[in-house]
Symmetry: C2
Amino acid sequence: VDPALLAQAQAKLDNKTKPIGSLGRLEEFARRYAAISGTLEPSTWKKVIFTFAADHGVVAEGVSAFPKEVTVQMVHNFLAGGAGVNVLANHVRAEVLVVDIGVDHDFGDTPGLIGRKIARGTRNLAQGPAMTREEAIAALEVGIELANGCKKEGIAMAGTGEMGIGNTTPSSAIVAAFTGRSVADLTHRGTGINDSALNNKVRVIEQALAVNRPDPADPIDVLAKVGGLEIAGIAGLVLGCAANRIPVVVDGFISTAGALVASELHPAVKEYLFAAHQSVEIGHAVMLERLGADPILDLKMRLGEGTGAALAMGLIEAGVKILKEMATFEEAGVAEGEY
Amino acid sequence: VDPALLAQAQAKLDNKTKPIGSLGRLEEFARRYAAISGTLEPSTWKKVIFTFAADHGVVAEGVSAFPKEVTVQMVHNFLAGGAGVNVLANHVRAEVLVVDIGVDHDFGDTPGLIGRKIARGTRNLAQGPAMTREEAIAALEVGIELANGCKKEGIAMAGTGEMGIGNTTPSSAIVAAFTGRSVADLTHRGTGINDSALNNKVRVIEQALAVNRPDPADPIDVLAKVGGLEIAGIAGLVLGCAANRIPVVVDGFISTAGALVASELHPAVKEYLFAAHQSVEIGHAVMLERLGADPILDLKMRLGEGTGAALAMGLIEAGVKILKEMATFEEAGVAEGEY
């Protein structure tokens, strides 16, 4: 982003009727959002959250507390408006768009569902590559094309979300592959597995890394071998939003795995994204550190779907409104401070 | 609040289509809000932020970066809708009500201003008591009466806010009086004073405590001798909201000084309040610890007015909507997890 625009946005904030810098991170959100959007009067009106759904062959290893069928059931719940992300997106006046990028189910012509299925789920990454390189690239392109569509539709801000039973397993594998940190330090309980299931999950991820030997210098290799289709879609969305100058709000652990793949491919995307919240998943802080991103919220959430992104979008929009709507010292006839 | 209602609210949350506890603190907000309101279907529709304005004799000691006239100027800015709290309250669909509880100015018949002036500012607390005991009680009663009015008007949730040049000084004095902690550990830069002004501010507060000898076992003595009229109004609002079972969202440093006075008078109020955010002011964490309150946001804000309360109200409302609007496993036909 253009440093001159960042400085101009901060100068505009400094004329508002408040002590310099007193709105803290709201000012950071406003400044960055303006610089990404390329204007000191950016819109926040049209907001969209993409919830990418996909299945994971690795559930055969017993890594999740929920059965695989829940991915399909939750897609219907999203479309009916009953899920957490629907409630929170409505609250911040954002739209939820549900993308089937790899669910192991034939949805036919389900109204409202964006059908972009690359495969009926990944293969079991504990036994071999989750995807072919071609599948991973195709799934990335889905995200990029959705971001291009946002540009055409005048979407001001995009959020990421996902649904896929088993998808904290590839997310931990991805951050382990890029950082070389121990799997046990990056792997947590997902939807709520017990101690013995957690030990098994760690073992499964260690096996996946040993079997596949993903190359951390080749982010698409990592994505294909130990990733997921929804994670690839999110990585593509992040890349596409950056290319189209659309601020993109990255949800929690799984979404950040996607953002990490995007930033390993193209580090400049870091300037275009906002980290919505600090997830309960223990590997998330390591991802955020590698991204250089400071999470906006810490509400001990671990649901995914885009729920954290929705809440953070509301706060980013609040910052932008400060930039656009607050009175200046001159307009309000208020005396300035002497520091 | 009724522990049975807390348990019923959590049971209702546990039937929603999400892993148990996965919405973290949003579930805490929903549970507490329901228990305070006395229903599992609480309203969040009508939200009000009270911004109490007052002046402080202690500004004669050079404790603020802004001239005293700014209190009056900002009252007009609030009424015109140009201040930070106006923008953020609009964003969360809350109303801002501005209360003159002690500004050193004759506003006459200013439209929109709630005139409840107890005195034209406090006296200089470095030289003697800021208020008489009678003034402090009268200002507390203003807040209590406003809370009673909320009950009559069907206000679902109230927030606190304030404007008063110099008011971080009495706030630090109050927390020092109650905790006995060193003034230097509780005193910060307010609107943005430099190092030498900060040293002077610490000295002024130490002098105020030495001259007045407030009795920490008598919260009204502390409030009268080293407090402020807007702080007293906030303390009264917190007491009145608790008595009327209205969830009350306490803004930053100065507001929390008011909440602290209320909780020292009646510890049960702690169950009825939400701490909006962690302020940059270094004494704030000490106040929150004494209140046993975990702040909702940490956005490095230090503006006051009710700006943090506005943002937190939006998040609390989000939690309540989860309780009310999300589908259950049964409604959505989603399988439950096995933990």
